[in-house]
Amino acid sequence: MDKSLNWRETIITAVVKTCGYSAVVFVILIFFFLLREGLPALVEVKLGDLLTTRWYPIENHFGILPLLTGSLVVTAGAMLIAIPFGIGTAVFLSEIAPRWMREVLKPLVELLGGLPSVVLGFLGILLLSPFLRVFLDLPTGLTALAGALLLGGIAIPTTVSIAEDALDSVPQSYREGALAMGATKWQTIWRVTLPAARSGVLTALMLGIGRTIGETMAVMMVTGNAPVMAIKLTSIFSPVRTMTATIAAEMGEVANGSTHYHVLFLIGLVLFLISLAVNITASSVIFKSRKRAERVLS
């Protein structure tokens, strides 16, 4: 082999390797910048003041509890929708629907996954919230419930797609074995197939939650954006404000380097750490099956 060829190989290997590490570099960079811009908030505002219930930045009240509870209420509501409908649809597609129906319907769910969230928010303002206001006789339709319904719709494509893959990868012999023992189709689904696909279904739910907590535009447009504590059961029918919506709504108007600016980065840091926790938990399951991990991302 001639020498120039050898040199080229070495250089290309080095370049490719550097690019290969880029994902790690970016995660560290993002973490570093959030720390750099967010941590000063802990010096400027006392921790005790951050953990209060009043978010009113103009008068220097930076209590982030209303935003945390807002995010929690909306996410919990979304999961109450995404769990039964997401898993139900996945079971329907994988176990009940005939093949042609599955070939048509699964791309349809994935099409919903590709719908920009701002479009869902737009429909939420024009159709969903007026409907909720009239139907439930509320003073305003822009409530946590509207946000939860939209977020359920956003979590469903992720949940269905991954859960269906997990059900699909359960070996056919499991089902045949159960049926041969005299179980009904339903008993087979409920006692054999679903438990066998458990880890994949849980991953699907985790990643659905991950998408829900981080969702910004749809939530900002329909939840009414009132930073009040959402701890009562009826909070679901009143306006709330999530962490993501607060950043999106207020970042454009703050002075760079002000306390308000630092607090918004601190909220970003909290969101980053939540998504890190969710994804590391989910991926510890995924690593048992490499193929599934790839589908998660595609």
């Binding site: 290997t13 970016f26 910048f33 629907a97 969230s117 339903w186 969710v278």
Partner: protein
């Protein structure tokens, strides 16, 4: 087997199937409804003038040309950064990396990158590209922010496509005296290309529809002219839809639906192209 009471298990089955089917119907009907409704309401708004004119009368009349062009520029800018980097990273993972803790770390990083909330990318872009590197609120800052967000999608799709190429192709090339890079460039990449293109389009589709990451890095409320350089801010379809549906009083409803429809066509059109390339490549594949 112990049983407290006997229930007809076929009755249970029928109930169960009915519930599951109901869940599926309640999932699919709104999906079809959403797309159908936007198409029905948006189609009358779309005309040549709507697509090719500047907005007028405080965006309440005229067209949405600057938003369409802006989204096109942002998608292109995102591709410039994320495609070479993403494909190179995928080549590393599929062809060079050994299964050790470093590779495991890279995979964890990719999964986490995919899960970071889009608004956090917006914060990061503001901190790094707009303020620290002083690119300002510009197409450049927004494209760089969107590229990092798109990277995990491109890497994992491209890696999957590369791994799908049979090992024997590589073995033959190496045995004929090809170097590792020659094998990748002349044999593996061309075979994996349809899969890689599909992944790239799906990643860019996501970037084109995002609002939160460009909110503080490059999006403009209104511009009277088209952006002239990468350092200009730009209007964009998703942000424009957000603005006209929440910030402008007495906005004609038809323009809102029209903008939503154009955005959907832009994004889902990319999706259809990707699906088409994938299915055609599958049909033509020899292995």
């Amino acid at each position: 087997m112990k049983r407290r009471f006997r229930v007809d298990r076929y009755l249970v089955q029928r109930l169960g199937f009915a519930l599951i089917t109901l869940a599926a119907v309640l999932t699919f009907v709104p999906i079809i409804g959403v797309f159908g409704y936007i198409i029905a309401k948006g189609a009358p708004a779309i005309s040549w003038e709507f697509l090719s004119a500047m907005p007028s009368d405080g965006m309440r009349a005229g067209g949405i040309l600057p938003a369409i062009v802006g989204t096109f520029y942002l998608t292109l800018g995102t591709a410039v950064f994320s495609v070479p980097l993403g494909i190179a990273a995928a080549i590393y993972l599929a062809e060079y990396a050994k299964e050790n803790w470093v590779t495991r770390l890279i995979r964890i990083a990719i999964i986490n990158l995919a899960g970071i909330p889009s608004v956090v990318y917006g914060l990061f872009g503001l901190g790094v590209f707009v303020l620290f590197l002083k690119f300002g609120t510009s197409i450049l800052s927004a494209s760089l922010t969107l590229s990092i967000m798109t990277l995990p999608v491109i890497i994992s799709a491209a890696e999957e496509a590369l791994r799908a190429v049979p090992q024997s192709f590589r073995t033959v090339s190496i045995s004929l005296g090809g170097t590792r890079w020659q094998t990748i460039r002349k044999i593996v990449l061309p075979q994996a290309l349809p899969g890689i293109i599909t992944g790239v389009i799906l990643g860019l589709e996501r970037a084109a529809g995002e609002t939160a990451p460009i909110l503080f890095t490059g999006a403009a409320f209104f511009l009277p002219r088209l952006p002239g350089s990468p350092l200009d801010a730009t209007m964009a379809l998703p942000y424009h839809l957000f603005v006209i549906s929440t910030q402008i009083p007495e906005m004609p409803i038809q323009i809102q639906y029209g903008t939503a429809l154009v955005l959907i066509i832009f994004v889902l059109g990319m999706n259809l192209i990707a699906t088409f390339i994938r299915s055609r490549a599958r049909a033509k594949r020899q292995w």
